[in-house]
């Protein structure tokens, strides 16, 4: 007498019913079930279920779906099945890529020229800081000492 621990799982019995086991597994399982009081009724029940499904009535719609579906496709403007997304070839994208590279290079050239120009025109730092002295550039001297703290 087998114990439940020694028995195969239900999924093995289910696969046996479906004939989805390899030959060695199928033979071993059949041998086990033949002498197992636990598995034999389970297998019988699974087989019975299969017989019940086979008795289900054949269902026929009684409708020609081809006509209905075709009408719906036509009514929807009959878009042809969407075309596959186009794959780009290198020679198709080369002109655009070249144009883009040239634009970038020209932009970089213009940018660097502007930077260089601003450096040339830059004033010395001391002159720029003169704006923050007591008497800013262009203002009148109220007294000589005010504009010449050394008194000279």
């Amino acid at each position: 007498m087998n114990t439940a621990e020694q028995c195969p799982r239900t999924e093995a019995l289910s696969a046996l019913v479906d004939d989805e086991l390899g030959e060695p597994d199928r033979m071993a399982l059949n041998a086990h079930v033949a002498g197992c009081a636990l598995c034999a009724p389970v297998l019988a029940e699974l087989r019975q279920l299969r017989i019940r499904f086979a008795a289900l009535p054949a269902v026929v719609p009684g409708v020609d779906f081809a006509t209905l579906v075709d009408r719906r496709i036509a009514a929807a403007g009959a878009p042809k099945p969407k075309a596959q997304p186009q794959r780009w070839r290198w020679w198709q994208v080369a002109p655009a890529a070249l144009g883009g590279a040239l634009s970038l290079s020209f932009g970089a050239y213009l940018g660097s020229a502007l930077l260089l120009g601003s450096q040339v025109a830059a004033q010395p730092a001391a002159l720029q800081m003169a704006a923050f002295t007591e008497i800013p550039p262009g203002a009148l001297c109220p007294a000589v000492q005010a504009c010449n703290p050394m008194g000279r």
């Binding site: 799982r9 239900t10 999924e11 019995l13 289910s14 696969a15 479906d18 989805e20 029940e45 699974l46 279920l49 299969r50 019940r52 499904f53 086979a54 008795a55 289900l56 009535p57 054949a58 269902v59 026929v60 719609p61 409708v63 020609d64 779906f65 081809a66 006509t67 209905l68 579906v69 075709d70 719906r72 496709i73 036509a74 929807a76 009959a78 878009p79 042809k80 099945p81 969407k82 075309a83 596959q84």
Partner: protein, 183 residues
């Protein structure tokens, strides 16, 4: 000109090029199976009629994505299954309305007693199926009614073969339990 008994793949290629007549041929070949599956998934003739059309229209729109490595039937069932699940999710249906009486079991021969017994068994199975979780119902229908292999079911439901095997076993156990309780 294609022979009407040519393989699906030839018709699909023509349909991919925009040939609606070729697509109609594909619809005719698969309409009964798709309808049958959707009827048992949704439990309603009217829903199955609508969703079968929806599934085929979606298939037409998705034709450019079809790859020759995929069997057309498997690919189509994937679309039909997703259509059914979308509808069930939208309605949040767990229990389904009963199948219409128009879908009685056919006669099982001249013996009226036997005929009544078969009708009763079929009704019980249909009632039990309706109480199953949708993921159990779909896998059982694909196996028992559509007779798909584990590999094909795996492709339709995007599952590994191991998962198909274990889910089928769980679905059967659940159905047997429901069936036993209803007796």
């Amino acid at each position: 000109m294609l022979a009407s008994d040519g393989p699906d793949e030839d018709w699909v290629r023509r349909a991919q090029a925009g040939d609606r007549k070729a697509f109609s041929e594909l619809v005719r070949r698969h309409q009964d199976r798709v309808y049958r599956y959707l009827l048992r998934m949704l439990g309603s003739h009217d829903d199955a009629l609508d969703l079968t059309q929806d599934a085929f229209v979606k298939a037409w729109q998705a034709l450019p994505q079809w790859q020759p490595e995929a069997q057309f039937r498997t690919w189509l069932f994937r679309i039909a299954n997703n259509t059914a699940l979308d509808t069930l999710r939208r309605r949040k249906l767990v229990e389904f309305v009963p199948l219409e009486d128009a879908f009685d079991a056919p006669g099982a021969g001249p013996d009226p007693e036997r005929q009544a017994q078969v009708t009763q068994e079929v009704r019980q199975l249909e009632a039990s199926l309706k109480r199953l979780a949708p993921e159990h119902r779909q896998i059982l229908l694909l196996r028992e009614v559509e007779e798909m292999s584990y590999e094909e079911i795996g492709r339709v439901l995007s599952l590994s073969e191991g998962t198909v095997k274990s889910r089928l076993a769980r679905a059967r156990t659940a159905l047997i339990e429901i069936h036993a309780r209803s007796r």
